[in-house]
């Protein structure tokens, strides 16, 4: 859409700008401030420059957590995005079934994140949980508190269970916005099911899928409460994702300086990837329009 040029439109943006800046810029400045100081207590702080950044970047355990985090987010996106689109394609388009499916899909999204962890602890307990009992009765020992692989499977299952509905809801919104005329035209042209998906549905879903991908990347990269409640980062360090490690540094050892430097690096990584995803998806979209 061609937009009107008008710089007075800024006045409409000011409330949002102020409300977000208030709770974003001030805390961010505080974190930057911590990250370059050595803090011993109130009034006892020394400027030490980039020391903490150097220390954090050389931290072996951070590298391990970062690698684990990339694995996790990558796998999660690979499973959730296609699955969400598939579900959206299979959803009924109108009537009470459409409403019912929407409501059912939204249920996992409405559970507080730490409660999600609790649910899955109950659900996967070998003695009293449905899933744990089922797997064990099939003769496979399954225990997410003992085996790193089982812990990973449980955390992944929980994450996919929890968040695929978000992708599905957004993809569904994109699909429903396609005018019926497009499908009729495709039918007249004798387009295959795949062609309809590739040249009509996918390009039309680009906007919503961009939001879905960005949200899913951010939230899976920042994931904290669910695996923390479920496994506490263990067994060993096998499910210690970045924010769990970050909290261990910040709260466990109470090292504000390194924790602040750590979170700034963390923030920059997320920012960089979101920016790349955003640019790439915008470019894909403009190429598809022809």
């Amino acid at each position: 859409m061609v937009k009107w040029d008008n710089n007075r439109a800024w006045f409409l943006v000011i409330p949002v700008f102020v409300i977000v800046a208030f709770s974003a810029i001030i805390p961010l400045m505080t974190v930057v401030n911590y990250s370059v100081q050595d803090i011993f207590g109130p009034g006892q702080r020394f400027f030490i420059g980039a020391e903490w950044f150097r220390e954090v970047l050389h931290d072996e355990r951070l590298h391990a957590a970062l690698w684990r985090q990339f694995m996790f987010s990558g796998l999660v996106l690979l499973i959730e995005m296609p699955l969400g689109v598939l579900i959206a394609l299979a959803m009924p388009k109108k009537g009470w079934t459409a409403s019912l499916v929407l409501v059912l899909l939204a249920l996992p999204l409405l559970i507080p994140w730490n409660v999600i962890g609790t649910i899955w602890i109950i659900f996967t307990r070998p003695d009293i949980g449905l899933m744990g009992a089922l797997i064990n009765s099939a003769g496979i020992p399954f225990d997410h508190t003992g085996s790193p692989l089982d812990a990973w499977i449980t955390v992944m299952l929980m994450e996919v269970w929890h968040w695929t509905p978000l992708v599905a809801l957004l993809a569904y919104a994109g699909l429903r916005a396609i005018p019926e005329a497009y499908y009729q035209a495709a039918k007249i042209d004798g387009a295959s099911r795949w062609a309809v998906f590739r040249y009509i549905q996918l390009p039309k879903m680009r906007g919503v899928l961009t939001i879905a991908l960005l949200l899913r990347f951010m939230d899976s990269f920042l994931i904290y409460a669910e695996p923390f409640v479920l496994t506490g980062g263990g067994p060993g360090n096998s499910t210690t994702f970045l924010s769990i490690y970050l909290v261990k540094v910040a709260v466990g050892q109470f090292d504000l300086g390194p924790a602040a430097a750590f979170s700034l690096i963390y923030f920059l990584i997320v920012l960089l990837f979101c920016f790349l995803f955003y640019q790439a998806l915008q470019a894909v979209g403009t190429g598809d329009k022809g």
């Binding site: 949002v16 409300i19 805390p27 499916v101 249920l107 409660v115 649910i119 509905p165």
Partner: protein, 267 residues
């Protein structure tokens, strides 16, 4: 309705989706001795003791009330501020528009864990600790940008000619916005409100840090119980089920708007 292959897949998926929630419901209707004593697919001697305890103990039910208050506040603040901004991003080109639009979303990207201390200091300075408004405001950090992004999509789906016609007819901007434009994207507002509600409802870290007693959210009450008295499975499950209820009610009432909203939005 004709049963197609894709519907079978969808039904299986939905069943798997409901299973963990069903299991929690099952647990919440049993006593602890019963839960630990025998594995059972359904409550054989259903009891509402766990729910009764939550509804009779103020430290439990006040958590729900607190959560509902700040989530409602947050949804209202997010919508009221995001609507004009989304209109500006959707209709106008102005200095820095693209940058501000992306910058807004970057505020979701900061790891919340280390923002806790700065947030605590910031809200202490203004004397807002342990108030509902503090939590509502802090949740704006991630909800307002998302609201702007989603609303912008819905607004861009409305043809610009409608605005032009209204302005030629002599409508002032506020009057046009409220009487013509908002009803057009009503469904989009519903979808956005749902997302704000959802993300504010499930957020715990900030809500817990900024509150002590008066505005303590339900999710925090639950964690406290876990650590203090060991694991009371039945009570925990009942509390978990109850955390879904307000949200489920909200969606049930707006379900038709949601379905319509999803149909209308270009997003």
């Amino acid at each position: 309705m004709r049963l197609q292959k894709k519907h079978v897949g969808l039904i299986i998926y939905l069943l798997l989706l409901i299973l963990p929630i069903y299991w929690m419901l099952n647990m919440s209707l049993r006593t602890n001795a019963d839960i630990l004593g025998a594995f059972s697919l359904y409550p054989e001697n259903p009891t509402f003791a766990n729910y009764l305890k939550i509804f009779s103990d103020p430290s439990w039910y006040s958590g729900y009330i607190n959560s509902i208050i700040y989530v409602t506040l947050n949804t209202i603040i997010s919508l009221v501020t995001a609507l004009p901004a989304a209109y500006a991003f959707s209709r106008y080109r102005f200095i820095g528009d693209k940058h501000v639009f992306f910058w807004l979303l970057t505020n979701r990207m900061a790891p919340p864990a280390v923002f806790l201390l700065p947030f605590f200091q910031l809200y202490s300075t203004f004397g807002l600790i342990d108030t509902h408004i503090a939590v509502a405001l802090s949740h704006c950090l991630f909800n307002v940008p998302l609201a702007v992004w989603i609303l912008e999509g819905f607004m861009s789906g409305v043809p610009k000619e409608i605005d032009e016609t209204a302005f030629i007819d002599g409508y002032s901007f506020p009057r046009f916005f409220i009487t013509i434009f908002l009803p057009l994207i009503r469904a989009g507002i519903g979808v956005t409100a749902f997302f704000c509600f959802m993300f504010s409802w499930v957020e715990l870290l900030l809500a817990r840090t900024l509150t002590t007693t008066n505005a303590k959210p339900i999710a925090a009450t639950m964690t406290r119980t876990v650590s203090a008295t060991g694991l009371d499975w039945g009570l925990l499950a009942a509390a978990g089920i109850l955390t879904i209820v307000p949200g489920a009610l909200v969606i049930w009432f707006v379900r038709n708007h949601l379905a319509k909203g999803f149909a209308l939005g270009r997003v």
